[in-house]
């Protein structure tokens, strides 16, 4: 039965990750996009734990959800994308 519980958790995580990926690419706000990439990283972290890879999970958690999000947030501020939406980015 453990097997199937794991499968269900995996299914849930995969669903969250795929939708986060879609949101990251389709949403109009850049901020939402960055947040969804972080959510994706978190999902991946949990999945790595499920797959018995604690080292990788830790790295993904620290690097993917932490550092990478920090870099992207800095990018948002440096690129002036916090306010403008995707559509309005180049309308001057």
């Amino acid at each position: 039965m453990v097997e199937s519980i794991e499968s269900w958790i995996a299914l849930l995580l995969v669903g969250v990750m795929l939708s986060a990926a879609l949101v990251a690419l389709l949403s109009r706000s850049h901020l939402v996009a960055v947040v969804s990439v972080s959510v994706l990283s978190l999902g991946l972290t949990l999945l790595f734990v499920l797959l018995k890879a604690p080292d990788v999970a830790m790295t993904e958690g620290v690097v993917g959800a932490g550092l990478s999000s920090l870099i992207l947030a800095l990018a948002l501020s440096r690129l002036g994308l916090l306010r403008s939406t995707k559509a309005g980015a180049t309308d001057e």
Binding site: A24, L25, S68, L74, K86
Partner: protein, 154 residues
């Protein structure tokens, strides 16, 4: 069922990432797409070493577990994740510079700027008929618009 779900997730991330990279019109979204594709590839690599009923390859309570997952892909994914973040940071830095140089983060716009700059800098030799590129601007406009810093943020 588990492998179906996992492979669907990994391949899904990979393909969403690559498709997003091709389809995005915004350079920042392209970076995000690359990050997503990398996540998918990392997951695929990790799945290559998973064993049913395996434990993490770590010494616990005086011995290694009798069935362990393969440590090699884990080490490789570790490496790949860190490589990925390095490349991501470089991509962001380049984007900051792109915005300084061309004043835009729109993909097509940036390509137009690039071609203009190149044509202007390299125009040394022109015997062949000049083709009109599909990206060529229509009508009169200055060759290289001077963009003030922070213009598009206002």
């Amino acid at each position: 069922m588990m492998e179906m779900v996992l492979y669907a997730g990994a391949v899904g991330l990979l393909v969403i990432g690559i498709a997003g990279l091709v389809l995005s019109h915004h350079l920042f979204r392209q970076v995000l797409a690359l990050v997503i594709a990398e996540a998918g590839a990392n997951l695929l690599l990790l799945l290559a070493g998973y064993r049913f009923g395996g434990e993490a390859p770590i010494w616990s309570e005086g011995s290694f577990p009798s069935v362990m997952v393969d440590p090699v892909p884990q080490a490789m994914v570790l490496t790949a994740i860190v490589i990925g973040v390095g490349i991501q940071a470089l991509a962001i830095a380049l984007l900051i510079r792109v915005r300084q140089q061309t004043g835009t983060l729109d993909r097509e716009q940036a390509v137009i700027e690039m071609r203009e700059a190149l044509d202007q800098e390299l125009g040394r030799f022109s015997t062949a008929p000049k083709p009109r590129s599909q990206y060529a601007p229509k009508g009169e406009r200055p060759l290289y618009p001077v963009v003030e810093e922070g213009q598009d943020a206002r």
